[in-house]
Symmetry: C2
Subunit: 156 residues, 2 copies
Amino acid sequence: MAVLPTTLSIGELAARSGVAPSAIRFYEARGLIGSQRSAGGQRRFPRASLRRLAFIGAAQQVGLTLEEIRAALAQLPDQRTPTRRDWQQLSAAWRDRLELRIAALERLRDDLSGCVGCGCLSLRRCRLYNVGDGAADEGQGSRLVRAFGSRGHLKG
Amino acid sequence: MAVLPTTLSIGELAARSGVAPSAIRFYEARGLIGSQRSAGGQRRFPRASLRRLAFIGAAQQVGLTLEEIRAALAQLPDQRTPTRRDWQQLSAAWRDRLELRIAALERLRDDLSGCVGCGCLSLRRCRLYNVGDGAADEGQGSRLVRAFGSRGHLKG
DNA sequence: GTGAGACTTAAAGTTAAGTTGATGTCAAGC
DNA sequence: GCTTGACATCAACTTAACTTTAAGTCTCAC
């Protein structure tokens, strides 16, 4: 059996985390992850970096940007193992965001389901498509579809 | 009361749809939407373009790229009002994608909930974080978090 | 102690989905 | 019939999150 090393090279970390070396360097440059250096200047990561990368991946799933993740991680005092309270706060915030995104997608799905077979695209009063049309004298067309959710997180 | 015009300038279409003129031009360049031209070369959109834009917006919510949306729209014979069957096929495909994304987010949420207060970040066997770690002799670390869902749609 | 392969940095490239700017034309109310 | 605001095109810029490339350095198994 191979002995588990106490530190990992960037290649080892990449292989075990599934995150590309270039991405890991990128995260380091953005302050999401730290490393020691070998005598020759190569990165040496503690094993905790694996958790850190998993954390980053999970946070991205939630729809956070790297900057937001960096800010969240920065709140965990740097060389301290996060406390239960640290973690509770982060995960609660995440769950709220997740719930919102899930609700938005479910709403869209339900509206879609209600439309199946109705020939929506040619109808005047479909919930999904009767949007912004026929509002000529109102000066402020409805924004049903746009209001569905956090479209913004995809592109800032 | 103003009379509803049979065609819309790009500015009118933008105002009523909530989509910026530059975005509409962009969609036209990408083949997602068409227009006639006035004698002087300005765009004139049929009122159906409002539905088209709503369609595009809804599709983006589902996580489709503009290219995928273009392909979907291209299946609807160009100057024909889509049939019930056309629409059924599209919306069924969308719902499948939505279901997948919803399921992935719910799984993440549930794992998060299971973790609240457990001090995950410092534990060895949390579902969320015990990923790719300790797999030194396996040569193929697990990819739990990465398998959560379509991370890819965010960047292609 | 050496050679292959992993690592280093910096800069430039990539993709999606647009926005912004420059420069010039159209449309319409007075 | 003119001026003002909307519109036209085209190219360049933007942002996020990386990847790729180039040129050079380190490591370590033999």
